[in-house]
Symmetry: C2
Amino acid sequence: MSEQTTEAASDAARQLLGVLGCGEAFGFHTMAEASARSEHFDQAVVLMQMAAEHLNGYQRVRERLAGEGADADALIGSFAGPLSRYHARTAPTNEYEALLKAYVGTGIAADFVREMASRLDEDTNAFVVEVLAEPQADELVVARLRSVMADDQALAGPMALWGRRLMGEALSQAQRVAADRPDLLALILGPSDLEGFQQMVARMTASHSARMRALGLYP
Amino acid sequence: MSEQTTEAASDAARQLLGVLGCGEAFGFHTMAEASARSEHFDQAVVLMQMAAEHLNGYQRVRERLAGEGADADALIGSFAGPLSRYHARTAPTNEYEALLKAYVGTGIAADFVREMASRLDEDTNAFVVEVLAEPQADELVVARLRSVMADDQALAGPMALWGRRLMGEALSQAQRVAADRPDLLALILGPSDLEGFQQMVARMTASHSARMRALGLYP
Protein backbone atom coordinates (compact mmCIF):
# COMPACT_ATOMS: atom_id res chain seq x y z
CA MET A 1 0.00 0.00 0.00
CA SER A 2 1.24 3.50 -0.72
CA GLU A 3 1.67 5.83 2.23
CA GLN A 4 -1.41 7.75 1.18
CA THR A 5 -3.55 4.61 1.06
CA THR A 6 -2.26 3.51 4.48
CA GLU A 7 -3.16 6.87 5.91
CA ALA A 8 -6.65 6.78 4.42
CA ALA A 9 -7.11 3.26 5.81
CA SER A 10 -6.04 4.34 9.28
CA ASP A 11 -8.37 7.35 9.07
CA ALA A 12 -11.17 4.99 8.15
CA ALA A 13 -10.27 2.73 11.08
CA ARG A 14 -10.38 5.65 13.50
CA GLN A 15 -13.73 6.80 12.14
CA LEU A 16 -15.16 3.32 12.43
CA LEU A 17 -13.94 3.09 16.02
CA GLY A 18 -15.70 6.42 16.58
CA VAL A 19 -18.95 4.92 15.23
CA LEU A 20 -18.47 1.84 17.40
CA GLY A 21 -17.73 3.84 20.56
CA CYS A 22 -20.73 6.08 20.04
CA GLY A 23 -22.93 3.09 19.21
CA GLU A 24 -21.85 1.35 22.41
CA ALA A 25 -22.69 4.44 24.48
CA PHE A 26 -26.14 4.65 22.89
CA GLY A 27 -26.48 0.87 23.25
CA PHE A 28 -26.28 1.49 27.00
CA HIS A 29 -29.48 3.54 26.75
CA THR A 30 -31.27 0.96 24.62
CA MET A 31 -30.62 -1.69 27.28
CA ALA A 32 -31.34 0.69 30.19
CA GLU A 33 -34.68 1.65 28.64
CA ALA A 34 -35.63 -2.00 28.09
CA SER A 35 -34.63 -2.65 31.71
CA ALA A 36 -36.69 0.27 33.04
CA ARG A 37 -39.74 -1.02 31.16
CA SER A 38 -39.30 -4.63 32.29
CA GLU A 39 -42.20 -6.04 34.22
CA HIS A 40 -40.00 -8.60 36.00
CA PHE A 41 -37.18 -7.55 38.31
CA ASP A 42 -34.84 -10.38 37.25
CA GLN A 43 -35.18 -9.46 33.58
CA ALA A 44 -34.56 -5.82 34.51
CA VAL A 45 -31.31 -6.80 36.21
CA VAL A 46 -30.05 -8.82 33.22
CA LEU A 47 -30.73 -5.86 30.93
CA MET A 48 -28.88 -3.52 33.33
CA GLN A 49 -25.90 -5.85 33.07
CA MET A 50 -26.14 -5.65 29.27
CA ALA A 51 -26.19 -1.85 29.57
CA ALA A 52 -23.03 -2.00 31.68
CA GLU A 53 -21.41 -4.23 29.02
CA HIS A 54 -22.09 -1.57 26.41
CA LEU A 55 -20.60 1.09 28.67
CA ASN A 56 -17.57 -1.14 29.05
CA GLY A 57 -17.39 -1.45 25.24
CA TYR A 58 -17.50 2.33 24.94
CA GLN A 59 -14.67 2.66 27.46
CA ARG A 60 -12.51 0.11 25.64
CA VAL A 61 -12.96 1.95 22.34
CA ARG A 62 -12.23 5.29 23.99
CA GLU A 63 -9.02 3.96 25.54
CA ARG A 64 -7.87 2.47 22.25
CA LEU A 65 -8.48 5.70 20.37
CA ALA A 66 -6.78 7.76 23.08
CA GLY A 67 -3.84 5.32 23.05
CA GLU A 68 -3.46 5.97 19.32
CA GLY A 69 -3.26 9.70 20.02
CA ALA A 70 -6.73 10.52 18.68
CA ASP A 71 -9.08 12.99 20.37
CA ALA A 72 -11.34 10.13 21.42
CA ASP A 73 -14.12 12.25 22.92
CA ALA A 74 -14.43 14.53 19.90
CA LEU A 75 -14.30 11.61 17.48
CA ILE A 76 -16.89 9.50 19.32
CA GLY A 77 -19.07 12.53 20.05
CA SER A 78 -19.10 13.49 16.36
CA PHE A 79 -21.42 10.54 15.67
CA ALA A 80 -23.90 11.47 18.40
CA GLY A 81 -26.08 13.44 15.94
CA PRO A 82 -27.18 10.61 13.59
CA LEU A 83 -27.28 8.13 16.47
CA SER A 84 -29.54 10.29 18.59
CA ARG A 85 -31.77 10.82 15.54
CA TYR A 86 -32.08 7.04 15.17
CA HIS A 87 -32.92 6.71 18.85
CA ALA A 88 -35.40 9.59 18.85
CA ARG A 89 -37.21 8.02 15.87
CA THR A 90 -37.31 4.58 17.47
CA ALA A 91 -38.28 5.56 21.03
CA PRO A 92 -40.17 2.54 22.42
CA THR A 93 -43.56 3.14 24.00
CA ASN A 94 -43.82 -0.16 25.87
CA GLU A 95 -41.81 -3.12 27.17
CA TYR A 96 -42.16 -5.19 23.98
CA GLU A 97 -41.01 -2.42 21.66
CA ALA A 98 -38.10 -1.77 24.01
CA LEU A 99 -37.15 -5.46 24.02
CA LEU A 100 -37.38 -5.80 20.24
CA LYS A 101 -35.19 -2.72 19.88
CA ALA A 102 -32.68 -4.17 22.34
CA TYR A 103 -32.51 -7.37 20.30
CA VAL A 104 -33.08 -6.33 16.69
CA GLY A 105 -31.74 -2.75 16.78
CA THR A 106 -28.56 -3.76 18.58
CA GLY A 107 -28.12 -6.63 16.10
CA ILE A 108 -28.45 -4.34 13.08
CA ALA A 109 -25.97 -1.83 14.48
CA ALA A 110 -23.45 -4.60 15.23
CA ASP A 111 -23.86 -6.07 11.72
CA PHE A 112 -23.23 -2.66 10.17
CA VAL A 113 -20.05 -2.04 12.14
CA ARG A 114 -18.78 -5.61 11.60
CA GLU A 115 -19.38 -5.31 7.84
CA MET A 116 -17.21 -2.22 7.64
CA ALA A 117 -14.57 -3.53 10.04
CA SER A 118 -14.09 -6.61 7.85
CA ARG A 119 -12.57 -4.28 5.23
CA LEU A 120 -10.06 -2.79 7.65
CA ASP A 121 -6.69 -4.10 8.86
CA GLU A 122 -6.74 -7.37 10.76
CA ASP A 123 -5.87 -5.83 14.10
CA THR A 124 -8.71 -3.27 14.05
CA ASN A 125 -11.13 -5.87 12.74
CA ALA A 126 -10.25 -8.29 15.55
CA PHE A 127 -10.72 -5.54 18.13
CA VAL A 128 -14.14 -4.58 16.72
CA VAL A 129 -15.27 -8.21 16.60
CA GLU A 130 -14.17 -8.68 20.21
CA VAL A 131 -15.98 -5.57 21.49
CA LEU A 132 -19.15 -6.64 19.67
CA ALA A 133 -18.89 -10.15 21.11
CA GLU A 134 -19.99 -8.78 24.50
CA PRO A 135 -22.66 -10.94 26.12
CA GLN A 136 -26.15 -10.26 24.80
CA ALA A 137 -29.54 -10.80 26.37
CA ASP A 138 -30.79 -12.34 23.12
CA GLU A 139 -31.94 -15.63 24.60
CA LEU A 140 -33.87 -13.96 27.40
CA VAL A 141 -35.40 -11.36 25.06
CA VAL A 142 -36.43 -13.94 22.44
CA ALA A 143 -38.00 -16.17 25.12
CA ARG A 144 -39.90 -13.26 26.67
CA LEU A 145 -41.18 -11.91 23.35
CA ARG A 146 -42.20 -15.35 22.08
CA SER A 147 -44.08 -15.92 25.32
CA VAL A 148 -46.00 -12.61 25.28
CA MET A 149 -46.82 -13.07 21.59
CA ALA A 150 -48.12 -16.57 22.31
CA ASP A 151 -50.43 -15.07 24.96
CA ASP A 152 -51.58 -12.23 22.73
CA GLN A 153 -51.68 -13.17 19.07
CA ALA A 154 -52.63 -9.63 18.08
CA LEU A 155 -49.12 -8.50 19.04
CA ALA A 156 -47.34 -10.18 16.12
CA GLY A 157 -48.51 -7.65 13.51
CA PRO A 158 -47.41 -4.50 15.33
CA MET A 159 -44.14 -6.19 16.34
CA ALA A 160 -43.32 -7.20 12.76
CA LEU A 161 -44.00 -3.60 11.73
CA TRP A 162 -41.81 -2.29 14.56
CA GLY A 163 -38.99 -4.60 13.44
CA ARG A 164 -39.19 -3.24 9.90
CA ARG A 165 -39.19 0.30 11.21
CA LEU A 166 -36.05 -0.37 13.29
CA MET A 167 -34.30 -1.77 10.21
CA GLY A 168 -35.45 1.14 8.01
CA GLU A 169 -34.38 3.86 10.46
CA ALA A 170 -31.05 2.15 11.12
CA LEU A 171 -30.23 1.89 7.41
CA SER A 172 -31.32 5.46 6.81
CA GLN A 173 -29.09 6.85 9.58
CA ALA A 174 -26.22 4.55 8.56
CA GLN A 175 -26.36 5.94 5.02
CA ARG A 176 -26.36 9.43 6.46
CA VAL A 177 -23.27 8.70 8.57
CA ALA A 178 -21.45 7.25 5.57
CA ALA A 179 -22.50 10.03 3.17
CA ASP A 180 -20.86 12.66 5.38
CA ARG A 181 -17.58 10.71 5.70
CA PRO A 182 -15.75 9.80 2.53
CA ASP A 183 -13.46 7.42 4.47
CA LEU A 184 -16.39 5.41 5.78
CA LEU A 185 -18.22 5.57 2.47
CA ALA A 186 -15.16 4.06 0.78
CA LEU A 187 -15.24 1.22 3.33
CA ILE A 188 -18.85 0.47 2.49
CA LEU A 189 -18.58 0.87 -1.26
CA GLY A 190 -15.38 -1.09 -1.55
CA PRO A 191 -12.90 -0.50 -4.34
CA SER A 192 -15.33 -0.88 -7.23
CA ASP A 193 -18.84 0.50 -7.22
CA LEU A 194 -22.25 0.30 -5.65
CA GLU A 195 -22.34 -3.48 -5.88
CA GLY A 196 -20.50 -3.86 -2.59
CA PHE A 197 -23.04 -1.65 -0.84
CA GLN A 198 -25.96 -3.65 -2.21
CA GLN A 199 -24.33 -6.88 -1.12
CA MET A 200 -23.78 -5.49 2.37
CA VAL A 201 -27.42 -4.42 2.69
CA ALA A 202 -28.45 -7.88 1.47
CA ARG A 203 -26.31 -9.57 4.14
CA MET A 204 -27.63 -7.20 6.86
CA THR A 205 -31.20 -7.87 5.72
CA ALA A 206 -30.59 -11.62 5.92
CA SER A 207 -29.29 -11.30 9.50
CA HIS A 208 -32.26 -9.12 10.42
CA SER A 209 -34.67 -11.66 8.92
CA ALA A 210 -33.03 -14.45 10.93
CA ARG A 211 -33.56 -12.48 14.16
CA MET A 212 -37.19 -11.77 13.27
CA ARG A 213 -37.78 -15.44 12.41
CA ALA A 214 -36.32 -16.43 15.79
CA LEU A 215 -39.33 -14.56 17.19
CA GLY A 216 -41.71 -16.35 14.88
CA LEU A 217 -42.21 -13.08 13.00
CA TYR A 218 -42.24 -12.63 9.26
CA PRO A 219 -39.44 -10.12 8.57
CA MET B 1 -28.21 -9.53 73.68
CA SER B 2 -30.57 -12.47 74.11
CA GLU B 3 -30.71 -14.98 71.27
CA GLN B 4 -34.12 -13.65 70.27
CA THR B 5 -32.87 -10.07 70.11
CA THR B 6 -29.86 -11.14 68.07
CA GLU B 7 -32.09 -12.91 65.62
CA ALA B 8 -34.40 -9.92 65.28
CA ALA B 9 -31.36 -7.71 64.72
CA SER B 10 -30.01 -9.99 62.03
CA ASP B 11 -33.45 -10.10 60.37
CA ALA B 12 -33.48 -6.33 60.40
CA ALA B 13 -29.99 -6.27 58.89
CA ARG B 14 -31.06 -8.60 56.08
CA GLN B 15 -34.15 -6.53 55.39
CA LEU B 16 -32.13 -3.34 55.28
CA LEU B 17 -29.68 -4.95 52.87
CA GLY B 18 -32.72 -5.88 50.78
CA VAL B 19 -33.82 -2.23 50.74
CA LEU B 20 -30.28 -1.14 49.85
CA GLY B 21 -29.92 -3.69 47.04
CA CYS B 22 -33.27 -2.76 45.55
CA GLY B 23 -32.51 0.95 45.92
CA GLU B 24 -29.19 0.48 44.11
CA ALA B 25 -30.90 -1.33 41.23
CA PHE B 26 -33.47 1.46 40.90
CA GLY B 27 -30.67 4.00 41.31
CA PHE B 28 -29.26 2.58 38.08
CA HIS B 29 -32.44 3.72 36.31
CA THR B 30 -32.39 7.18 37.88
CA MET B 31 -28.87 7.73 36.55
CA ALA B 32 -29.59 6.09 33.18
CA GLU B 33 -32.63 8.31 32.69
CA ALA B 34 -30.66 11.44 33.56
CA SER B 35 -28.00 10.25 31.13
CA ALA B 36 -30.52 9.63 28.34
CA ARG B 37 -31.91 13.15 28.81
CA SER B 38 -28.50 14.83 28.89
CA GLU B 39 -27.94 17.41 26.22
CA HIS B 40 -24.15 16.97 26.32
CA PHE B 41 -22.47 13.68 25.46
CA ASP B 42 -19.76 13.96 28.13
CA GLN B 43 -22.34 14.52 30.87
CA ALA B 44 -24.30 11.55 29.52
CA VAL B 45 -21.21 9.36 29.84
CA VAL B 46 -20.51 10.40 33.45
CA LEU B 47 -24.11 9.57 34.37
CA MET B 48 -23.82 6.17 32.65
CA GLN B 49 -20.79 5.50 34.83
CA MET B 50 -22.85 6.43 37.90
CA ALA B 51 -25.53 4.01 36.73
CA ALA B 52 -22.92 1.27 36.45
CA GLU B 53 -21.73 2.11 40.01
CA HIS B 54 -25.26 1.54 41.28
CA LEU B 55 -25.46 -1.77 39.44
CA ASN B 56 -22.17 -2.68 41.07
CA GLY B 57 -23.64 -1.71 44.46
CA TYR B 58 -26.64 -3.95 43.77
CA GLN B 59 -24.34 -6.85 42.90
CA ARG B 60 -22.27 -6.40 46.06
CA VAL B 61 -25.40 -6.46 48.22
CA ARG B 62 -26.72 -9.48 46.36
CA GLU B 63 -23.47 -11.39 46.89
CA ARG B 64 -23.38 -10.53 50.57
CA LEU B 65 -26.96 -11.67 51.12
CA ALA B 66 -26.39 -14.88 49.14
CA GLY B 67 -23.19 -15.50 51.13
CA GLU B 68 -25.25 -15.30 54.31
CA GLY B 69 -27.57 -17.97 52.95
CA ALA B 70 -30.48 -15.59 52.26
CA ASP B 71 -32.64 -15.83 49.12
CA ALA B 72 -31.11 -12.59 47.84
CA ASP B 73 -33.30 -12.21 44.76
CA ALA B 74 -36.57 -12.72 46.63
CA LEU B 75 -35.48 -10.41 49.44
CA ILE B 76 -34.29 -7.60 47.17
CA GLY B 77 -37.24 -8.06 44.80
CA SER B 78 -39.70 -7.77 47.70
CA PHE B 79 -38.96 -4.02 47.89
CA ALA B 80 -39.55 -3.42 44.17
CA GLY B 81 -43.20 -2.46 44.77
CA PRO B 82 -42.76 0.67 46.91
CA LEU B 83 -39.61 1.63 45.02
CA SER B 84 -41.29 1.45 41.64
CA ARG B 85 -44.19 3.49 43.05
CA TYR B 86 -41.71 6.18 44.12
CA HIS B 87 -40.13 6.15 40.65
CA ALA B 88 -43.45 6.17 38.81
CA ARG B 89 -44.56 9.19 40.86
CA THR B 90 -41.32 11.05 40.28
CA ALA B 91 -40.84 10.32 36.56
CA PRO B 92 -38.86 13.28 35.19
CA THR B 93 -40.19 15.05 32.10
CA ASN B 94 -36.99 16.88 31.15
CA GLU B 95 -33.23 16.95 31.70
CA TYR B 96 -33.38 19.26 34.73
CA GLU B 97 -35.96 17.22 36.59
CA ALA B 98 -33.94 14.08 35.81
CA LEU B 99 -30.74 15.70 37.12
CA LEU B 100 -32.39 16.99 40.30
CA LYS B 101 -33.77 13.53 40.92
CA ALA B 102 -30.33 11.99 40.35
CA TYR B 103 -28.85 14.37 42.91
CA VAL B 104 -31.58 14.99 45.48
CA GLY B 105 -33.55 11.73 45.20
CA THR B 106 -30.43 9.57 45.41
CA GLY B 107 -29.26 11.65 48.38
CA ILE B 108 -32.53 11.17 50.27
CA ALA B 109 -32.53 7.42 49.66
CA ALA B 110 -28.94 7.13 50.87
CA ASP B 111 -29.70 9.19 53.99
CA PHE B 112 -32.65 6.93 54.80
CA VAL B 113 -30.64 3.73 54.50
CA ARG B 114 -27.65 5.15 56.40
CA GLU B 115 -29.93 6.30 59.22
CA MET B 116 -31.28 2.79 59.68
CA ALA B 117 -27.91 1.11 59.21
CA SER B 118 -26.44 3.20 62.01
CA ARG B 119 -28.67 1.25 64.40
CA LEU B 120 -27.41 -2.11 63.19
CA ASP B 121 -24.27 -4.07 64.06
CA GLU B 122 -20.96 -2.43 63.19
CA ASP B 123 -20.13 -4.84 60.40
CA THR B 124 -23.40 -4.35 58.51
CA ASN B 125 -23.25 -0.61 59.09
CA ALA B 126 -19.71 -0.41 57.69
CA PHE B 127 -20.76 -2.40 54.61
CA VAL B 128 -23.77 -0.14 53.98
CA VAL B 129 -21.68 3.01 54.42
CA GLU B 130 -19.10 1.65 51.98
CA VAL B 131 -21.67 0.72 49.30
CA LEU B 132 -23.26 4.16 49.62
CA ALA B 133 -19.86 5.85 49.35
CA GLU B 134 -19.80 4.99 45.60
CA PRO B 135 -18.74 7.96 43.48
CA GLN B 136 -21.53 10.42 42.80
CA ALA B 137 -22.02 12.90 39.98
CA ASP B 138 -23.02 15.58 42.51
CA GLU B 139 -20.43 18.15 41.47
CA LEU B 140 -21.29 17.85 37.79
CA VAL B 141 -25.05 17.91 38.46
CA VAL B 142 -24.87 20.91 40.80
CA ALA B 143 -22.71 22.83 38.31
CA ARG B 144 -25.03 22.04 35.40
CA LEU B 145 -28.22 22.93 37.31
CA ARG B 146 -26.76 26.15 38.70
CA SER B 147 -25.73 27.13 35.20
CA VAL B 148 -29.11 26.48 33.56
CA MET B 149 -30.90 28.25 36.43
CA ALA B 150 -28.59 31.24 36.01
CA ASP B 151 -29.56 31.37 32.31
CA ASP B 152 -33.27 30.95 32.98
CA GLN B 153 -34.36 32.51 36.26
CA ALA B 154 -37.90 31.19 35.82
CA LEU B 155 -36.60 27.66 36.41
CA ALA B 156 -35.87 28.10 40.14
CA GLY B 157 -39.53 28.00 41.20
CA PRO B 158 -40.47 24.74 39.43
CA MET B 159 -37.17 23.17 40.51
CA ALA B 160 -37.73 24.04 44.18
CA LEU B 161 -41.19 22.51 43.89
CA TRP B 162 -39.78 19.39 42.22
CA GLY B 163 -37.24 19.02 45.03
CA ARG B 164 -40.01 19.17 47.63
CA ARG B 165 -42.01 16.60 45.68
CA LEU B 166 -39.02 14.22 45.56
CA MET B 167 -38.62 14.54 49.33
CA GLY B 168 -42.34 14.07 49.97
CA GLU B 169 -42.69 10.99 47.76
CA ALA B 170 -39.51 9.46 49.18
CA LEU B 171 -40.68 9.89 52.77
CA SER B 172 -44.13 8.59 51.94
CA GLN B 173 -42.76 5.41 50.31
CA ALA B 174 -40.18 4.97 53.07
CA GLN B 175 -42.94 5.03 55.68
CA ARG B 176 -44.83 2.49 53.61
CA VAL B 177 -41.80 0.19 53.45
CA ALA B 178 -41.30 0.46 57.20
CA ALA B 179 -44.97 0.05 58.09
CA ASP B 180 -45.08 -3.35 56.37
CA ARG B 181 -41.92 -4.63 58.09
CA PRO B 182 -41.88 -4.65 61.87
CA ASP B 183 -38.11 -5.29 61.87
CA LEU B 184 -37.41 -2.18 59.84
CA LEU B 185 -39.97 -0.15 61.76
CA ALA B 186 -38.18 -1.07 64.98
CA LEU B 187 -34.94 0.19 63.46
CA ILE B 188 -36.50 3.53 62.64
CA LEU B 189 -38.45 3.96 65.82
CA GLY B 190 -35.62 2.87 68.05
CA PRO B 191 -36.19 1.36 71.45
CA SER B 192 -38.43 4.06 72.85
CA ASP B 193 -41.12 5.82 70.85
CA LEU B 194 -41.83 8.11 67.94
CA GLU B 195 -39.18 10.58 69.02
CA GLY B 196 -36.48 8.69 67.20
CA PHE B 197 -38.50 8.78 63.99
CA GLN B 198 -39.07 12.51 64.24
CA GLN B 199 -35.37 13.09 64.85
CA MET B 200 -34.51 10.97 61.84
CA VAL B 201 -36.87 12.91 59.60
CA ALA B 202 -35.39 16.15 60.97
CA ARG B 203 -31.86 15.00 60.08
CA MET B 204 -32.96 13.85 56.63
CA THR B 205 -34.72 17.16 56.05
CA ALA B 206 -31.56 19.04 57.07
CA SER B 207 -29.49 17.02 54.55
CA HIS B 208 -32.09 17.62 51.86
CA SER B 209 -32.07 21.36 52.59
CA ALA B 210 -28.28 21.43 52.32
CA ARG B 211 -28.48 19.81 48.86
CA MET B 212 -31.16 22.27 47.72
CA ARG B 213 -29.13 25.22 49.04
CA ALA B 214 -26.10 23.97 47.08
CA LEU B 215 -28.27 24.68 44.04
CA GLY B 216 -29.19 28.11 45.30
CA LEU B 217 -32.74 26.89 45.90
CA TYR B 218 -34.85 27.49 48.95
CA PRO B 219 -35.66 24.02 50.27
